[in-house]
């Protein structure tokens, strides 16, 4: 009995030590790294998975990406919990800079939003290049529309378009307008399941696998332009920010090598993001 118990105790001790040992090993990273708060569109479209290893090879710096909505990413930056913010909503980015939370904002790349909807197209908007007119038709037909509702860059763009169409979607919330409060992928999953319309960034749409009856119905309106900006969290406000490493990442993204790497990322031959960094004229 005692030997059996001793064996069991030894086994339990071994498991515990192994768990503790491996967790400390995983927790301590020897190589330099930065934390980047970014959006679900850059992560879920696969861009980072393609881009970051190239940067790490060139610089020796690892990049830890926390992928959330633009609103939340800026909040993480405000609290000083990351070094770099890489998002897509110009008005809130400029506010972030103006409030002193970030410095050195640069425009890195763009893609565009697309309106996706069911094959059956109940609002008859397919093929249109006027997104505001399409939104009006969807509201008039009371066709189901799924919204991110998570204060992300896409969500903010969508809300601006509804305002431009002069439609108060809050009044229709819960009826044809469904606010899911979730990321782009889950929102597309919901739209696919309900045969609803939704606004998506092209990158996430191209890499999305569970499309079912959904397809692009409206694209090519200049109001669907989607600019991505990168900025350093203000080291004067948060001394823990890794200023030098963060700037190296921003410099690389806006270097010719970084810009070419962004342009080279394709899914089935489709380019997802278009680099458009311009050196400031001084």
């Amino acid at each position: 009995m005692t030997s059996r118990r001793a064996l069991a105790i030894r086994l339990a001790a071994f498991i515990i030590l192994a768990a503790l040992g491996s967790s400390t090993r995983l927790g301590v990273a020897a190589e330099p790294f930065i934390v980047v708060a970014s959006t679900t569109s850059t992560e879920q479209s696969g861009l980072f998975q393609y881009l970051l290893p190239v940067f790490t090879r060139a610089s020796g710096i690892k990049v830890r990406v926390v992928a959330v909505g633009t609103g939340q990413a800026l909040k993480i930056g405000e609290r000083g919990d990351c070094d770099v913010v890489f998002v897509h909503d110009e008005p809130s980015e400029l506010k972030f800079i103006a409030n002193g939370f970030g410095v050195d904002r640069r425009e890195v790349m763009y893609n565009d939003f697309v309106l996706v909807g069911p094959e059956s197209d109940p609002a008859r908007v397919d093929g249109s290049h006027d997104i505001v007119a399409a939104f009006k038709k969807i509201a008039a037909a009371e066709a189901p529309f799924v919204s991110r509702g998570d204060d992300s860059g896409t969500d903010k763009a969508e809300k601006r378009l509804w305002a431009e169409a002069g439609i108060d979607v809050k009044a229709s919330s819960g009826r044809w307008y469904r606010d899911t409060g979730s990321g782009m992928g889950p929102t597309l999953n919901t739209a696919a399941a309900m045969n609803a319309y939704t606004l998506s960034d092209r990158g996430t749409w191209l890499s999305f696998k569970n499309r079912q009856e959904l397809k692009i119905v409206v694209e090519g309106d200049k109001r669907l332009f989607n600019q991505y900006g990168v900025m350093l969290v203000n080291p004067a406000k948060h001394p823990t920010v890794k200023r030098d490493l963060g700037l190296k990442f921003i410099d690389w993204l806006t270097s010719s090598e970084g810009q070419e790497t962004i342009a080279a990322y394709k899914i089935d031959g489709n380019q997802l993001f278009f680099p458009n960094y311009r050196k400031p004229q001084s």
Binding site: A12, A19, G27, Q44, M184, G185, A192, T240
Partner: protein, 232 residues
Amino acid sequence: MHDIAEALNLATGLVAALDPNLGRIVVLSLAVSLTAVVAASVIGLPAGAALAVFRFRFRAGAVIAVNALLGLPPVVVGLAVYLLLSRPGPLGPLGLLFTPTAMILAQTVLVAPIVTALVHRAVEELWREYGDALLADGASRLRAIPLLLSIGRASLVTAFLSGFGRAISEVGAIIVVGGNIANVTRTMTTTIALETSKGEIALALALGIVLIGISLAVSATTFTVKRYVGYA
């Protein structure tokens, strides 16, 4: 039906190929959850036993509180630990946010009430049975605790397993404090959440199947240990 069949295929493929990415994710998940359960047991074993054995003023209140904490939503625990570890928070200077340590901390908070409540329940019964005899023999209540825990060790295994089940399966807390960073804080459950987001339903389900397999293995191991320590 097609998706489920594809998921089964994928799951078999992932395991058969010893996919290194999957391996890393599984090791991290196990390391985080096992460490959290061990830490929660260090708190929960003495706390649960003390609740059963000692008589003090707010005992009933403490028991009610521990039982209520069983229903803690993981995302709330995640938010609380996030605020604790965030730079402006009380533990902010340690820089632990978005690390495996943060995930261990969150899961420990989540699991400690489970271990405490189950240990309390087990020891309470034993105390009713042996308490008077122990006290009459001259043992103090404090001395009685290790004795009672040793008698009730079979139920401690149940407490450990319940805690582990809660930890390994939750996603709400660790996705908030860990950030689901690839190769750093990406576990089985956060990967499943991510793959679902990408519309990779079959792959997400395949990972779920692997997770069930791992839970089975842990349960079987514990069952074996229990047979040795409990009934030998």
